[in-house]
């Protein structure tokens, strides 16, 4: 039942997905700059930064052990492998019934090593970031399972490859589900990808950071891996939200792709707008924010009950 796609286009789209990830961050930054009346860096800026980092020397902390050396690779691979499970117009590169669970747990594995890497350098700041990351991630899992998990149970498809294809625009139930789902995933994005109002990606003070503080001691290619993994994760979750609209199933591959990209752009603009308009929450308020996200996810249960006719 485990299927590796024989369609070369599946793998090509995945490669494009990897390549496009920094672009989304670039676009968000550009929009944000424009909204605040600045010109801002070019949208390609994240690529230049990745290239620059890859060419730079690597400095390891004297306190660091093997965890710091393997963690960047594992963090990147978990996010990268999770991306292989997404159907992007073509059948997903890797799929099997139940890969939803693998998706969630792979990302958890990446987080596991990210947190360990921040302990590895014996820094108090990084421990602080790790503590916050662990705390917010605890809420992220229920949000994911309330949305994608209940979708799986409603549609009786347990693979990301097929679950979105079941969403129909004609069933009002799914319309409600999609609106609630996109909203819940938006909460998930802000928690998991360190966006406002949970985390401020542009902060300059170690005390206030979450994701950035955890990679304070990474440098060179390691840092490039972390940065690319972070942007890939943002794209991954945004794509989940975009896939809830089932663009490929409704419009076919070509137009579907356009709709998909347009949805991503819309999400990017929304994220940028929120980051311009809002300040980061006080950290003690973040759990309330995330619990609210979980509560929205719980709405899916209602839909679920309606839809589950014997």
């Amino acid at each position: 039942m485990v299927r590796l796609s024989s369609d070369p286009l599946s793998w090509v789209t995945c490669a494009l997905f990897f390549a496009a990830a920094p672009l989304l961050s670039g676009i968000i930054n550009k929009v944000k700059a424009r909204l605040t009346g600045r010109v801002g860096p070019p949208v390609w800026q994240p690529y230049y930064e990745l290239l620059r980092l890859a060419r730079k020397e690597t400095v390891y902390s004297t306190s660091a052990g093997f965890i710091s050396r393997v963690a960047p690779v594992l963090v990147w691979c978990t996010v990268g492998f999770a991306a292989l499970l997404l159907p992007l117009g073509r059948p997903a590169a890797v799929s099997f019934p139940g890969d939803i669970i693998l998706f969630a747990y792979l990302l958890a594995l990446g987080r596991f090593f990210q947190i360990l890497a921040s302990f590895d350098v014996a820094s108090s700041f990084e421990g602080m970031g790790a503590s916050r990351e662990a705390r917010f991630a605890v809420f992220a899992e229920p949000i994911f399972f309330f949305t994608i998990g209940s979708l799986a149970i409603i549609t009786r498809c347990y693979s990301l490859d097929t679950v979105f294809a079941e969403i129909s625009w004609h069933d009002p139930l799914f319309f409600v589900f999609v609106s609630v789902g996109v909203l819940a995933l938006f909460f998930l994005v802000s928690a998991e990808c360190s966006r406002m109002p949970v985390d401020d990606p542009n902060t300059h003070l170690e005390l206030t950071m979450i994701h950035e503080v955890m990679i304070l001691d990474a440098s060179g290619f390691d840092l490039a891996l972390y940065q690319h993994a972070a942007s890939l994760k943002l794209l991954l979750y945004s794509s989940l939200a975009a896939l809830l609209l089932n663009p490929f199933g409704v419009f076919g591959p070509a137009v579907g792709l356009l709709v998909f990209v347009a949805t991503l752009l819309a999400l990017a603009v929304a994220l940028a707008a929120i980051e311009t308009l809002m300040a980061r929450f006080r950290l003690v308020l973040v759990p309330q924010f995330l619990l609210f996200g979980t509560a929205i996810g719980i709405l899916n249960i209602l839909i679920f009950t309606f839809s589950h006719r014997p």
């Binding site: 020397e57 139940g98 360990l116 014996a122 421990g127 229920p142 309330f146 149970i153 249960i301 589950h308």
Partner: protein, 657 residues
């Protein structure tokens, strides 16, 4: 083949006498544990070969009072026998090096080795005896042997107290079991499990009594909430090889009992299934939350056993529901998840406790706030512990993921096949499982990060001393088991195939229902290949540039000390705060007042509300019974009067009836 099993038991028997013959403690540790290990190799050969070429065998013989005693090797027995033997083998090998430290402290290991052997022996018998009376006898021997193994270092008051918790719990468990089996015996007139199973006329009331007492009895042993309180007290008290076995296999005897009851009794009470689901979910979520608040490494691990028992219980409850609603697919998925998680938890919890033992020897105490940087001192332990930590969080590609995957699948299939409230409840259970996954990640990153990474918080300069060979072999061996069962899930499934076949009466379907779990190796190997490729790319790229070492970034502050690292309490504080109503988290400190404050003490503690509840209950009962103390006057004439009154009472009873 059975001869091998008999030889194993005989060797254990021999080992009960060896301590009497060999006086030198140092030599005795090696010889005694190696004999156990050899005996277990024989036993493992038997159980593994019988499991792989499965054929149900049983041996019957007559015993006075107990009637016909059946020693049966069916799928369930063999599977648990294999699990018990595997971990006992690891524990015996580990004890070879670990016990040496006790010997150096001047403790005599002679008695301890006897009880340890008896524990291993009785555990194996518990799995195969199919006669309720003999089962209870063996169960009691196991309980007592475990108690005496726990209180090895009995000069220590804390050890005695922890052991006492175990003793009380295990006897409460025994009490319920006696009731349960007596009711069954009354109904069927036999002590044999087969006769219990064959009996047709169970009415729902008796069934409820048997199920509830049986679950209470086995549940206390397994450590379901609220009966879990003995675990976090007894585990830190026991030496590491014993606490490893306690958590890995002794509590699994309770799971064996529940699984056996489920196979014996007719499935009529769906409400029992839902009740078990609720208890399991509470055990799992609260278990990991309590674990998060602990500062003591073994206490933390003990709470994690409660969590994992909860996860196993989730699988069992789905299986029971499947039997109630006559859905063999759910039975297979539920049982497969539960049993596989039993094996997996045994492996990684053994690994973690043995690792904790090595840490303990380095740190001279279990308080993790005083630890840090042990990866540099005991690197092999650090690697093994890391694998165990990833596995216990249920993360791919290690074995914990496989069993949790099957349990998720059983929820999803259950939501599909059942009607009414069932899909909703199963969705909630799935979300609960995901939630505890997140908490487990927080908990084990905390444990591993604080203990093994960074610098030592106690300010001790750590020296690399070299790890004993036997403990390294055990840790890495168990770690590779985690990897093999994780990456090739078919291996684990192969071991539970016989019991699943017996449950459904067929052989082919179970593998099909458990799909795609048997084929996941492709995914995991692909993932590992990706990791290798990216790592190679990293090495190649870094080879072209410069790699150098530097100080950790301290935000410009240069006088950093190890005490400034994040602490375990600090790491977990916010999450613990969230669970405050359930966790009874207390802090004691005096706030800082002046600009240049003097030294202050900060003390935080997470009291287990349920533990407090049991203590309150205990003192309440004590007070109540204290009111009757006047009966015990100490005057011999009063006692003679009591005896006389009792005789009169019985005589009157005899006359009336």
């Amino acid at each position: 083949m059975i001869a091998l099993f008999a030889i194993g038991l005989a060797l254990h028997g021999l080992n009960l006498v060896v301590p009497a013959l060999l006086r030198d403690s140092r030599r005795l540790t090696v010889v005694g544990n190696l004999i156990n290990a050899i005996a277990l190799v024989c036993g493992l050969c038997f159980s593994l070969s019988t499991l792989l070429a499965y054929q149900r065998t049983e041996y019957r013989f007559e015993l006075p009072a107990a009637g016909q005693v059946v020693i049966g090797f069916d799928g369930l027995s063999l599977f648990f026998l294999f699990t018990f033997q595997l971990l006992s083998f690891a524990g015996s090998l580990y004890a070879v090096s670990y016990l040496r430290h006790y010997v150096e402290r001047g403790l005599s290991v002679r008695g301890h080795l006897c009880f340890f052997t008896l524990l291993i022996l009785s555990l194996q018998l518990v799995a195969v005896v199919q006669n309720a009376l003999i089962f209870l006898v063996v169960w009691e021997i196991m309980a007592l042997a475990a108690y005496f193994s726990i209180v090895f270092d009995r000069q220590n008051a804390e050890v005695r107290q922890g052991g006492f918790w175990y003793l009380v719990a295990t006897h409460a468990s025994m009490l319920f079991l006696v009731v349960s089996f007596l009711v069954l015996h009354e109904l069927t007139g036999s002590w044999n499990f087969d006769d219990f199973a064959r009996h047709a006329g169970y009415d729902s009331k008796t069934l409820a009594i048997v199920l509830l007492t049986g679950f209470a009895g086995f549940g206390i042993k397994a450590g379901f909430m609220p009966f879990h309180v003995w675990l976090p007290n007894a585990h830190p008290a026991a030496p590491a090889h014993v606490s490893g076995l306690l958590s890995a296999i002794n509590i699994k005897a309770g799971i064996y009992g529940i699984a056996r009851l489920m196979m014996i009794l007719p499935a009529q009470e769906a409400s029992f299934g839902w009740g078990l689901l609720a208890v399991s979910l509470i055990s799992a979520v609260l278990g990991v939350w309590y674990a998060l608040a602990q500062h003591d490494i073994k206490r933390l691990l003990a709470y994690h056993s409660v969590e994992n028992i909860g996860i196993i219980g989730l699988g069992l409850s789905v299986a029971w529901l499947g039997r109630c609603y006559a859905l063999p697919e759910l039975v297979v998925l539920g049982f497969a998840g539960a049993l596989l998680h039993t094996l997996n938890h045994a492996i990684f919890k053994g690994l973690l406790f043995f690792g904790a033992g090595n840490v303990d020897l380095q740190a001279h105490g279990g308080n993790i706030e005083q630890m840090g940087g042990f990866a540099r001192v005991i690197p092999l332990t650090a690697v093994g512990f890391l694998v165990g930590a990833i596995s216990i969080c249920g993360l791919p590609p290690f074995n914990g993921f496989v069993s949790e995957f099957i349990i998720y699948k059983s929820f999803f299939r259950g939501a599909d096949l059942l009607h009414g409230y069932a899909p909703l409840l199963l969705l909630l259970a799935a979300v609960g499982l995901a939630f505890m996954g997140g908490l487990a990640v927080a908990c084990f990153t905390k444990l591993y990060g604080i203990v093994f990474l960074g610098h030592n918080r106690a300010g001790v300069a750590l020296r690399r001393q070299g790890e004993p060979v036997s403990s390294s072999i055990v840790l890495l061996g168990l770690a590779s088991f985690c990897a093999v069962v994780g990456i090739f899930p078919g291996t684990g499934l192969r071991l539970i195939e016989p019991v699943l076949g017996e449950l459904t009466g067929t052989n082919q379907t179970s593998a099909q229902w458990a799909s795609p779990i048997g084929q996941l190796q492709i995914v995991f190997l692909l993932f590992l290949a990706l990791v290798v490729v990216i790592y190679a790319a990293k090495v190649w790229l870094q080879g072209r540039t410069v790699v150098r070492l530097g100080e950790t970034w301290g935000c410009g502050y240069t006088a950093v000390t190890p005490r400034m690292q994040y602490t375990a309490s600090g790491f977990a504080a916010e999450l613990v705060q969230l669970g405050r109503p359930m966790l009874a988290f207390t802090v004691q400190w005096t706030p800082l007042q002046s600009i240049l404050p003097l030294a202050r003490v900060f003390h935080s503690r997470c009291n287990d509300r349920m533990e407090n509840g049991w203590i309150l209950l205990n003192s309440g009962i004590g007070r109540l019974l204290g009111a009757l103390r006047w009966i015990q006057s100490g005057n011999i004439r009063h006692y003679v009067l009591y005896v006389f009154a009792a005789v009169i009472f019985y005589l009157l009873c005899a006359l009336v009836w």
